[in-house]
Amino acid sequence: MATAAPTRINHPAPHAHGRDLLRLMILSRVLEQTCCELNPRWFPAEGEEAAIVGAFYGLRSDDFIAAHYRGPFIAYYLRGADLARLIGQALAKANGYARGRALGFTGPFELGCLPWVAGDLGTSLGVATGVATGYQYEGGDRVVVCSFGDGTSNRGDFHEALNLAAVWKLPIVYVCQNNQYSISLHLSQVLATDTIAARAAGYGMPGVAVDGNDVLAVRAAVEHAVESARAGLGPSLVEAQSYRLSGHWASDPGGYRRDEDVAAWRERDPITRLERQLLEAGEVTRHDLDQLWQDARDEVARAVEVAQAAPSCDAADIGLGEAYAS
């Protein structure tokens, strides 16, 4: 665990937030799309950048995050992860944080990220809640932010974790990254309520559903929830309502849904939306935007170069003797 004195990560002066959030969403878009090009089995996060960036922005180095498996790299980047090592994971290269042992979307534990050590969804909510249990036991004001998909909220672990957190008033914020799909199934096929946030009342914790394509709205809701968790007021559930613009994995044509739905949601792209807002507010110029995209492409391109030059995982590093700590 990070134990150095807490410092804010990637956290500029308030007035600059909009621009910084935009930069991060653009970086996320370029980064994840690049991974999809490099790996047809990668899971596209296109359209969900606001939900992800808004959830993990502005935490402290001694906080902890458990990011949903779709589009987590920007969250790890916010923890200080190296892009080349993350992209290396998408390529299953040896420079990845888990050196090819864990899943490609795993995060660096040493930077306060819950790694993906198995593929069963929902279980991570229990472990993240346990990290919050450890933080509360310490005293202090460290918090955990844990995101998960809309489909995952139907797993029993969601229920047990949120109830435990509410009863113990644990310092954790649950963020549902609602993209309205679980692989081929629309939310309406697996959920009979309008929102997942509605479940919070059943645990006695605050629950709020926000426009998941409005990064400022997501950020505001999560920031509020993080502050109350830090203040010892207990957990919250924030639902960021968005849409999965691409397939379940990069090569999934997603033929199970209607083109006009996808098209309608493309209209609400969270990045173009914030770009428009900032342009109108005069906070950025067209040239600034071009520059942001160019910087992101350059930064990712450099990282890809490093990742591709990195050695493949070596059978010699299999570490069969490392199942146990000593």
């Binding site: 797993r155 199934l185 995982c313």
Partner: protein, 344 residues
């Protein structure tokens, strides 16, 4: 590392060549088995994630939704425990549900329904209740390397459950049909390398492979290999290799893990006096331990060498291909073990 390319695997399995000469992939045969039973018996239906319009992970239920519609091909939420519970309860009402847990890696999220309900109900009610359900799930390594766990040993340890793992296209169909018709809860393990990688002769029409089947896939007099699932094919690859060295290997496909019947293996070992057990799961406490212990006991005076086990090492399963390939037992590992017991 040496490994046989799935494409090269091609044989008929438990059935004699049929005039039809129909050749299907493992998964095509599997789906045909479900389809035939759904046509024959209106009480049969399928539940699982994405089994409907999408046709299932790795095309595991392709075409069923189109033919039978949403009433009989039900997409479920991500709620493995409730899904299996739904199958147990529906089976109690006399239906014959097939519930699909997309991957065996998720079985730990439904253990209570499988082990404490499905397995107990018949005995605990003195026979009043029956649980005619099939729990199908994808296991082992595969083309995408995702969710590769092999937990079959847990379930073979639990009385009241039947556990099968077919290795051929013909048996994929025949055992699925038998599993659906069986009045007990049957765990049906589908190895992911077999799915599109194994093609074979599959009888059209009614084709049943008894659930308690064990097959001799190749006859040989020197050493017996008892293997499960994908390892059957690696064993056959090893047998080819060893034949060139003058070692005649008999390959036994233990397609039924529970209730376990070892007669075929015993008979083979009485002939060869040497046994290698091969599976993809972890070595310690793996199902191979049961086979090895049983044969070492029943064939104590027949064995000329210690029973060898070929299995995954006792460490978590890594993802990246070079690590995964080094981790999993392959043709070379099997061949090496055979040479050892042959020399021993």
């Amino acid at each position: 590392m040496t490994t046989i390319s799935p494409a090269s695997v091609d044989f008929t399995g438990s059935q004699p060549e049929t005039p039809s000469g129909r050749r299907l992939t493992f998964v095509e045969a599997l789906v045909e088995g479900m389809r035939d039973e759904m046509r024959r018996d209106p009480s049969v239906f399928l539940m699982g994630q994405d089994v409907g319009a999408m046709g299932g992970a790795m095309q595991g239920s392709k075409g069923l939704y189109e033919e039978f519609g949403p009433r009989r091909v039900k997409d479920t939420p991500i709620s493995e425990s409730a899904m299996v519970g739904a199958a147990v309860g529906a089976a109690l009402t006399g239906k014959r549900p097939i519930v699909e847990v997309s991957f065996g890696e998720f079985l730990p999220t439904a253990m209570n329904q499988i082990v404490l309900q499905a397995a107990n109900l018949h005995y605990m009610t003195c026979g009043a209740a029956r649980v005619p359900m099939v729990l199908r799930t994808r296991v082992g390594d595969g083309p995408y390397r995702g969710h590769p766990q092999s937990y079959e040993a847990w379930f073979a340890h639990v009385p009241g459950l039947k556990v099968v793992m077919p290795a051929t296209a013909a048996d994929a169909k025949g055992m699925m049909v038998a599993a659906i018709r069986d009045p007990n809860p049957v765990l049906f393990f589908e190895h992911m390398w077999l799915y599109h990688g194994v093609r074979g002769e599959v009888p059209a029409g009614d084709h049943v492979t008894p659930l308690d089947s064990t097959f001799v896939r190749r006859a040989g007099r020197d050493v017996t290999i008892a293997a499960t699932g994908w390892m059957v094919h690696k064993a056959l690859g090893a047998a080819d290799l060893l034949a060139t060295e003058g070692i005649e290997v008999e390959v036994v496909d233990v397609a039924c893990l529970s209730p376990l019947r070892t007669e075929v293996v015993e008979e083979s070992v009485r002939k060869t006096s040497r046994l290698v057990v091969a599976h993809e799961a972890w070595r310690t406490g793996g199902f191979g331990a049961e086979i090895a212990a049983t044969i070492a006991e029943r064939c104590f005076y027949d064995l000329d060498a210690p029973v060898a086990r070929v299995a995954a090492p006792d460490a978590p399963l890594p993802l990246a291909k070079p690590l995964r390939d080094a981790f999993l037992p392959d043709v070379r590992d099997v061949a090496e073990a055979v040479r050892r017991v042959h020399a021993g």
